[in-house]
């Protein structure tokens, strides 16, 4: 009985894999836009790319950089930072979306 159930579960898993993979392949080849929306519907709740300033855009930047203000010689940027509070430095090179 147990072996029979396990065999049914394995068959179910494989048939599910075949079905899902076929749907994904069809969507990719025939109608990418429609396929993506069906896929998105199954994906759950989405975060979308947003209108916020590009995240990470200030990596390696600084109010002072290139303006001489960061030189220890004049202490011009003491306590300042263009990134502070904007958080743009957390990851590399790409825009992080916000929640909707």
């Amino acid at each position: 009985m147990k072996n029979h159930l396990n065999a049914m579960l394995l068959t179910a898993a494989l048939s599910g894999l075949i079905g899902g993979t076929s749907v994904a392949a069809q969507a990719a080849t025939h109608n990418a836009a429609a396929g993506n929306s069906v896929k998105a519907a199954k994906a759950g709740l989405r975060y979308v790319g947003a209108d916020k300033p590009a995240k990470h855009s200030c990596k390696g930047k600084n109010d002072c950089k290139g303006q001489g203000g960061c030189k220890s010689s004049d202490n011009g940027c003491k306590g300042k930072n263009s990134c502070k509070g904007k958080g743009g430095c957390a990851t590399d090179g790409s825009k992080m979306p916000d929640a909707i």
Binding site: N6, V23, A24, A40, K42, K52, S72
Partner: protein, 303 residues
Amino acid sequence: MNLQPMSLADLQREMAAAVMMPLTADEDMRAQAPDGRAMSEVAASFIAPNSRLTAFERLEIYNRQYWYRVMGALAEDFPALRTVLGRSRFEALSIAYLTAHPSRSFSLRNLGSELSAWLADNPHFTGRRHLLALDVARIEWAFVEAFDSAERTPLTLDQIATLDADSRLALQPHVQLICLNYPADDLVLALHDGEKRQASEAGVKHDDSPEAPARLPKLRRRPTWVAAHRVDLAVYYRRLQPEEFVTLTSIREGQPLAEAIQSGFADSRIPAARWPQLVREWFATWAELGWICAPDLDALIKT
């Protein structure tokens, strides 16, 4: 001038230790190094003063900038956690965490990688909202991982045709499985949404988050299973059934396919008659989302 000759490696170590040393409550550089040396002497050993600034003051600029930058980066990756705890508690937590886990990577992206584990061991930083804070931190870190972790080629029909009970599969690296104490995924989405609206209404977002923890809707503690993952460069949160979560976890751990499925139902209250239908639906959805891939093509494709 007390400048002393030292190797480049020693100079870098000395500078890094000084720059990464926590600031005082007034955001100044500390007067004493952890080893007891006066920081004025440490600074003078490798930095020359100028006409306006002492060596200490010149080093202090870098010490401050390091902390402003890493604190800002951490706050950016955990905005909901900051809202749940309030700004002052979040800042205290950030300083303690970043002291225990200073930046070690070329990228600030990895700064929060240990935060959830560290929070679990340091509940006094989160107070009475500890379990909720832990959930929120896990969700927000899962977002970072799902956002930029690798994406591999999903299983093909040819590969599926070779599978049997003993086959071992793998999950997409960007699929993040999270087990929560509360249904905190909805809360995090709502908090992020609120923050986004605030930012767009204000035009430019400033660091004006409230000092005190936010008033939150009453959440009932309820185990919740979630997968954070990426579809077409967007991150999604998908609720999972507990059996589904365990099966996915077992697949990720490398259990043979049949065992992974059985482990999913080990403690299940779902009648066995419904299991095959559920398994078919799960695997179809996972395949459609591209979650399942091969751990090792050579091992999977039997010749």
